[in-house]
């Protein structure tokens, strides 16, 4: 299993780095518990490495290719959502995110009727959230410039 080999090597590198960083802790007693965990993780990663070398699992068929484009768009939209959340307020940013996701990721079958429907669902969704949490439960949300 090539994947397991990659995982175990990544873990081993991380574990060694973390182990070395333990030496810089202010109080060595605070490092006891993390040290035990790191050592156990080291043993488990080594076992996984050995397993990946000696136990060859039969290769299972692979699914369709990974949709990098779509994934990248979604990831970027979420990051944009985070950036604007505190400045323009929670509900407005949530609504804009909802519309952006449904319009951009669902652009393949976008018709005028569907566009209106998606905006309406976005309004209803954020409206319900606002009612449930700000009105009923009185939860604090980032206010920003608007809502």
């Amino acid at each position: 299993m090539k994947k397991d080999m990659i995982v175990s090597l990544v873990f081993l590198v991380g574990i060694v780095t973390l182990y070395l960083s333990l030496g810089f802790m202010d109080d060595p007693r605070a490092a006891t518990f993390p040290k035990v965990i790191i050592v156990i993780m080291g043993i488990l990663s080594a076992l996984l490495l050995l397993q990946s070398i000696f136990l060859k699992k039969p290769v299972t068929s692979k699914g369709a290719g990974f949709p990098f484009g779509r994934f990248f768009i979604c990831f970027s939209l979420i990051i944009l959502y985070f950036i604007f959340m505190e400045t323009i307020g929670f509900y407005l940013s949530a609504f804009l995110f909802f519309v952006a996701v449904t319009f951009i990721l669902g652009s393949a079958d976008l018709t005028a009727r569907k566009a209106v429907m998606r905006v309406v669902i976005g309004v209803v969704f954020t409206g319900v959230l606002f009612f449930l949490f700000n009105v009923l439960l009185a939860v604090q949300t980032p206010k920003g410039l608007l809502l």
Binding site: D26, P67, A94, F98, L105, F125, L129, P142
Partner: protein
């Protein structure tokens, strides 16, 4: 039992009943939605319960837990996709029934059997939890430390295909739990950025690990067409189906007994309960060949087992803080954010909250059956909600829930980073449940380890303090047995795969 009856009326207050009904309806819908796991549904709700009264918040989580387990059967029956792993056994006969035009009957049987199993499971839970909690009263730091390790070893074997990866995930969770200031000594650990100063809180971790990978998975499968639900309404079959269902004494009793026993064993999980009950009912049947072709008894056995598991799976959770399933692990997070710690305290100091919660779980079983039957007529509509809306809605809820607990944007960053990491981890065969349990049980393990070490240093030494004493040895043996069993299972499936490949 007397405490249970004493606190029962509290579950009947207006606000608690309203929460219960909303939780059950929401849970049924969430459970029926393909692509949304029950564990994620409960995880998304945890932060909102933070703003409620503890009892009401727990009632909401319990109602959703109960209803999602039954709701998962709807998509199993109608479109052959189990809403949760627990519903795998349901589709074996449930979907053939739907194909024969008997989908409504299959759904009725599913909800009635769930009610029967669920109530039996609750009785077992009410009888066994308090005595077990009293045993936990005798545990010292060394036993508590081992209990935490046992919890992680159990979850490691349960949720991953590979025990090594499960354990690595659990250890990773333990390591994450040490980020921030050391609880006993107050010195900073692994604080590489200001965001990490306060350590990683439970809610951002829960939501990030369960919800974000699901969002990305939905993005991946966007555009895949699901099977059209087979649904033809039949009129006036409710009374007939109830009578027919209750006559399936054999299937219902096998299901409920198997479900209850497997529920108590931490880590055995719901999918096993359903499949074992299904298999046993088939073996005891006079017509075993009819199973798999749409035999209602198969649905009854599987669903009564699934819901019989819910109550007993809370026994180790409420008494020893070992969750019996991934969803129960999330429920543990819900208890902890209200400052409720599993163990004897829950049944003594916080008895009012705990017993109200247990009472509401009994009511939730009944509400689940009633609303399930009412909603089964419209349930097929849930199947046609496009993934697109789910992606947007789950992300917004995840962000909102995470932010609202501490009004902290840092938590949102932690949630999203952990979630993205978990998504990559899932590609390499890791699952979120052991990591979450590591994060939850980490402070318990460390605290008791350090306390135990302090005692041991002045007394008999660390080794004999942690490794001798009958209770320690029993729990250590349980850890070894649970890991050993997973290794055995893995070797067996490896051999089978090898034979199949040849």
């Amino acid at each position: 039992m007397s405490e249970f009856l004493h606190y029962f009326p509290q579950a009947l207050s207006f606000i608690n009943l309203l929460t219960l009904v909303l939780g059950v309806i929401g849970g049924l819908i969430l459970g029926a939605t393909p692509g949304l796991s029950p564990t994620m549904a409960v995880a998304l709700l945890v932060p909102f319960t933070f703003h409620m009264d503890p009892a009401t918040g727990l009632i909401l989580l319990g109602a959703v837990y109960t209803a999602t387990v039954a709701g998962g059967a709807i998509s199993a029956i109608l479109i052959n996709i189990p809403g949760a792993p627990a519903n795998i056994a349901t589709l074996l006969d449930g979907h053939p029934m739907a194909q024969q035009g008997k989908s409504q009957r299959a759904l009725y049987i599913c909800f009635i059997s769930s009610l029967v199993g669920g109530l039996i499971g609750m009785v077992i839970m009410i009888l066994f939890s308090p005595p077990l909690a009293r045993i936990a009263l005798k545990f010292g730091p060394s036993e508590m430390f081992w209990i935490a390790i046992f919890g992680i070893s159990v979850m490691a074997g349960l949720s991953s295909g590979s025990i090594l990866k499960g354990l690595l995930g659990g250890m990773f969770g333990l390591l994450i739990s040490t980020i921030g200031y050391s609880p006993l000594l107050g010195s900073p650990r692994f604080v590489y950025h200001d965001v990490l100063t306060g350590g990683i809180a439970i809610v951002p971790a829960l939501i990030g690990l369960f919800a974000i990978p699901q969002v990305f998975a939905l993005v991946e499968t966007l555009g895949h067409k699901l099977e059209r639900p087979d649904f033809k309404p039949e009129k006036g079959i409710l009374a007939k189906t109830i009578v027919e269902n209750l006559k399936m004494v054999k299937a219902l009793s096998i299901g409920s007994i198997v479900g209850s026993i497997i529920g108590i064993i931490p880590g055995a999980g719901g999918q096993v309960a359903g499949l074992i009950a299904y298999d046993q009912t088939k073996k005891f049947s006079r017509k075993p060949e009819s199973f798999g072709t749409g035999n209602p008894e198969g649905v009854a056995a599987a669903e009564s087992a699934n819901n019989a598991m819910v109550g007993p799976s809370l026994i180790p959770l409420l008494t020893l803080s070992i969750p019996g399933s991934p969803t129960a692990a999330v429920l543990l997070g819900g208890l902890l954010i209200h400052g409720l710690f599993p163990g004897p305290d829950l049944f003594i100091t916080n008895a009012s909250i705990t017993y109200t919660f247990i009472a509401s779980l009994v009511l939730a079983q009944i509400a689940m059956c009633v609303f399930g039957i009412i909603m089964s007529r419209y349930s097929y509509m849930v199947m046609s909600v496009p993934n697109l809306f789910m992606i947007a809605a789950v992300t917004v809820l995840a962000v909102y829930g995470t932010y609202s607990v501490q009004n902290s944007f840092d938590d949102v960053i932690v949630m999203f980073s952990l979630g993205t990491l978990m998504y990559i981890g899932r590609k390499f065969g890791f699952s979120p449940a052991p990591v979450v349990l590591g994060i939850i049980l980490g402070p318990i393990a460390e605290d008791n380890y350090l306390k135990g070490k302090l005692i041991a240093d002045t007394d008999v030494g660390v080794f004999s303090y942690f490794f001798t004493g009958s209770m320690n040895i029993v729990i250590i043996l349980l850890c070894v047995a649970s890991i050993g069993y997973s290794v055995y299972g893995e070797i067996r499936s490896y051999r089978k795969a090898k034979e199949a490949a040849v």
